[in-house]
Symmetry: C2
Subunit: 436 residues, 2 copies
């Protein structure tokens, strides 16, 4: 375990290169065009040809920046910048390039392009580091397609099982493993490659906040201490399809009315003031036959429960299931509850966050420490390698929607923090390892 | 206006041919195969090639039964059996052959095949009638595809407007007129052909009950006096799509949660005991982006309000709209209410029902007079021509679902009632017209 470093060269003695906002903007625009939707959103789902196209584009950009690029069997794209000492663990940064359906242009992409900009600045400054640097672009961070998130990072940290490859399916019934093979991945090698602290000394992820805490407080940077976990369940409500004109109200077993009660019950559970940081969302609903003149016979709902507190997260998910059973019993509808995925909250290591905090202080950039309600690859990587997350403000807190936006100035500040954090970490680790 | 007939030859003096249940069953089976679904239901939507195929099949059957067949510009198929007196108004019977998505095999088809069986029995008996007989197969009775029902019967009774041809659209955005032209109809002739009491003396429709009143009471026949009207509205709820993890509960504008409140409110309105015969159904819901990890930003609901009392029907529809606005206001969601269609309830003429009632009595078949919660072509035809409806029991009241079923014995009884009602009406009308 690394101790809190006590000595480091002050930033004032280094060059402070300015991030090239023009080229950041041009790249943001180019990625936004891959899967662009009619209302300026992006649909670039996990393990689709569009996501692969985005990975190919970033691979070209990485090679242009002098990195050596490889794609692992799970579709993660990794660019390596050698360090002076080849055998040492690398310092990594990055994020993801997939999106939710009709999501935003900034989620994930900002973190990848920030890490790329750091590599470009280092090259322009002619700087070498002691440790190798990795730029990691994880595949399939969004859970939108398969229900479970962070599939690329889970694959390299031992958190994805071969059972998941067949069990997790998209809305079309395509299994995860099948989808991976369809875009050229080799999921059958799962378990062979696994990252550890020997490969990586730290992982730093810049990301948009996706909420409005920073904007409200007027702070440009957030440093994440806790990342919420999530428990996701599918509720299948079976009532009886009946004629909407001929069936008296008291004889109905309306699956949509039952679903409506469950939706409001889920909302009420999460709004209960005794549950401070719980959020719960019914984001998907499909009903059958979905016909104007038929009482709905079947409804399938997906519920996403998140919390920073793992006990509260699981208790709430259990209460959602109990609520659904109660509603089903009262309305003579059958209710099935299926677990889609379950991830624990993550607490990121304080020494690494402290390190980034000192960089912010030296740069004169105001910051706050905060939770992340959204899940991130950093939370997964943190199971095996120290990880830190740097948030930049989201305009109006909008995310997972075409309204998602962050200013170039804020993105630039994220790049500066990442640049100096990487360099400082390289020096501090080298000192601790006796290389300096 | 016709008076209640006082004299008619008693049924005891006529032949009572037995309906051929084997051939009825074979035909039912053949129609069930047109648009058969995986779970033994039927999807044969209005103005689709499958509906047209069903019309072509019945046209062949009608020609085999000696009828002269024509298809009108709106896709209604009409088979004519000449009477002794060519100039007189015809006696019509029939129903429809389209279905809701994954509906049943009996709705509509039973009425068409009952009328066909009557034509076959008449031919086998070598019987001629004074009046021409029509077998009418209406197009597009179900409102499932375009929201508005009874499009074929409305087209020939002046209740379909040229505005409807462009305004009514299916879920794919295809306009009614476009869909009609796509299957060879000529909607541009709307208004040229219009039925009146000069063409038709009466319209008799056999139909499955679609509820469980007859089954519960153990009665084989229902004679309909009132047919419920319907008011259908589309509710468009616009909230804000947001990240399901990062957005605190109190900052959400969840369109699905708002929709859930509206769904339960609609149900509560119709369940209010002060509204005796009102039913209200949310049968369709579509949400956007319909993604597990996004708070829903938009929900579109369809509400079907029906009542036998036209005032109560319209008041309830208005209250549904007010309820939706209230929910929207409280949840900072925008609510738009669009009228899809509005039809008044119909009261069928007592003299014609009385006529069918006497036939039942003479046949020794028990019956009851009852309302129809479902709409029917007979209600539309009744605006211009006297109409009567004969219900046969629905097993377990199931309808608009694959579970829909009626026994062959019950169908056979419907045929008998229709056969004798047509013959008796022919004689009674001939007497009144001085032809007898």
């Amino acid at each position: 375990m690394l101790r809190e470093p006590s000595v480091a060269a002050p930033i004032g003695e280094q060059a402070r290169p300015t991030p090239n906002l023009g080229r950041l903007q041009a790249d943001l625009q180019q990625f936004a065009e891959l899967g662009a939707t009619a209302d300026s959103g992006v649909s670039r789902l996990a393990y689709t040809p569009l996501e692969r196209e985005a990975h190919q584009l970033i691979a070209r950009r990485m090679r242009d920046a002098g990195l050596e690029v490889r794609v692992d069997p799970f579709g993660n794209t990794i660019g390596v910048r050698p360090g002076r000492r080849a055998g040492t663990a690398a310092i990594a940064s990055g994020s993801h390039l997939d999106s939710v359906p009709n999501g935003g242009r900034f989620d994930g992409t900002v973190g990848v392009l920030s890490a790329l900009e750091v590599m470009r600045l280092l090259r322009e400054q002619g700087l070498e580091t002691e440790h190798p640097l990795w730029l990691v672009v994880f595949a399939a961070e969004e859970g939108a397609r398969f229900g479970a998130p962070c599939l690329g990072s889970k694959a390299v940290t031992g958190l994805l099982t071969s059972d998941d490859l067949t069990r997790l399916r998209d809305a079309q019934g395509i299994a995860l493993g099948e989808a991976m093979r369809g875009v050229g991945c080799q999921p059958e090698t799962l378990g062979r490659e696994r990252w550890s602290a020997r490969d990586l000394a730290a992982f730093l992820e810049v990301h948009i906040e996706q909420a409005r805490v920073l904007e409200t407080e007027g702070r440009p940077i957030g440093l994440v201490d806790g990342i919420a976990g999530n428990t996701r369940v599918r509720l299948i409500v079976s009532g009886r399809a009946d004629h909407s004109g001929a069936t008296p109200m008291h004889l109905r077993r309306d699956a949509l009315a039952a679903a409506a009660e469950i939706i409001l019950g889920v909302e009420a559970l999460a709004r209960d003031p005794r549950r401070r940081s719980t959020v719960a969302t019914v984001g998907r609903i499909e009903i059958e036959p979905n016909n104007l003149t038929t009482v709905p016979g079947r409804a399938v709902l997906s519920v996403d429960v998140r919390d920073i507190d793992s006990d509260r997260q699981r208790v709430t998910a259990r209460e959602v299931a109990q609520l659904a059973y109660r509603v089903g019993e009262r309305r003579a509808a059958q209710v099935l509850v299926e677990l889609i995925t379950d991830s624990s909250p993550a607490v990121l290591p304080i020494w690494l966050r402290q390190h980034v905090a000192e960089v912010c202080t030296e740069l004169g950039i105001d910051f706050r420490v905060m939770n992340s309600g959204a899940g991130h690859d950093a939370a997964v990587v943190a199971r095996v390698v120290p990880a830190a997350m740097v948030f930049i403000p989201s305009r109006d807190g909008a995310s997972h929607s075409p309204q998602e936006s962050s200013s170039l100035a804020d993105i630039g500040r994220g790049v500066e923090v990442l640049y100096h954090a990487v360099l400082r970490l390289d020096r501090v680790l080298a000192e601790l390892e006796g290389l300096g």
